[in-house]
């Protein structure tokens, strides 16, 4: 019997493959801002609800604004990259500037229960599906 390493790396590999696969999905296609705008987003489903993850390294919490209405979410803010005055630059790869992105979810969101978390340069939005939007199972009489 082959020894199966239940190592964490295979879990990561599976995640990366799953992410690649859904990269070609047409979900959210009709959004107002479309794909390719900053910041890039990943949308996950967690049970009935949705989790949106955005990579936003180096942004102050106070420079971020998030708005939710019905099924659309807007994330706007400013990313600053600063250098001391007397420094000699060797490499400059980090970008700075302003961003504003809206996305339309295909379902209604319960705006009052949306939670946002910003930790380690990742913005996580927890979007509960609106109660009225949840599918109802119908019993046959």
């Amino acid at each position: 019997m082959a020894v199966m390493f239940s190592d964490p790396f295979s879990t990561l590999f599976n995640l990366q493959q799953m992410l690649d696969a859904s990269r070609s999905s047409s979900w959210l296609d009709a959004g107002p801002s479309g794909v390719g705008a900053y910041p890039p987003i990943n949308v996950f489903r967690q049970g009935d609800d949705f989790v949106v993850l955005l990579e936003l390294p180096g942004i102050k919490k106070s420079d971020l604004s998030i708005q939710v209405k019905e099924s659309s979410i807007r994330v706007a803010g400013r990313k600053a990259v600063e250098y001391p005055e007397k420094a000699g630059l060797h490499r400059r790869e980090r970008l700075s500037g302003e961003f504003d992105r809206a996305l339309n979810m295909p379902v209604q969101i319960d705006a009052d229960k949306v939670k946002a978390e910003y930790r380690n340069g990742m913005l996580a939005l927890f979007l509960p599906r609106a109660e009225r939007d949840k599918p109802k199972s119908i019993k046959i009489a």
């Binding site: 790396f9 420094a87 500037g97 340069g121």
Partner: protein, 132 residues
């Protein structure tokens, strides 16, 4: 430089490594700024999603190696529906041009941005020589 510059998406670069690792996970290159001040080098790296405990900074001879692991356990129970970026560990190394005092390296992680401050050794810092 205009302040109201528009941010564009920087596609993550995957590491093209000379040797392959035995595990198939992918590594990415963190976007990095490097600048030099009078007494040292400052290396600023973007490693979104990395916790402080999962960072490793190594200095061997002139090679500075940074490895940052993401904790993908957080993705348990999440089913991807729409994705625009991939997730992976970060790794990058640099060859330092000037001598660095390895005991005086400090690292700080704020909002997914790692700042390394490398102090130059005394021999490497510029000194003025007076002509007698």
């Amino acid at each position: 430089m205009a302040k109201s510059q528009e941010l564009s998406v920087q596609e993550k670069k995957e590491i093209a490594s000379k040797e392959e690792s035995t595990v198939p996970a992918r590594y990415y290159v963190p976007y990095t700024d490097i600048y030099e001040t009078e007494d040292g080098l400052i290396v600023v790296m973007e490693v979104p999603g990395v916790e402080k405990k999962d960072l490793k900074v190594d200095l061997e001879e002139d090679a500075l190696k940074v490895e940052a692991q993401i904790d993908f356990k957080k993705y348990n129970g999440l089913d991807p529906l729409h994705t625009e970026y991939n997730v992976g560990h970060f790794r990058r190394s640099f060859t330092l041009g000037s001598k660095v005092d390895r005991d005086k390296i400090t690292a700080q992680l704020d909002d997914g941005v790692l700042t390394l401050t490398l102090k130059k050794t005394k021999e490497a810092s510029p000194r003025s020589i007076s002509i007698s």
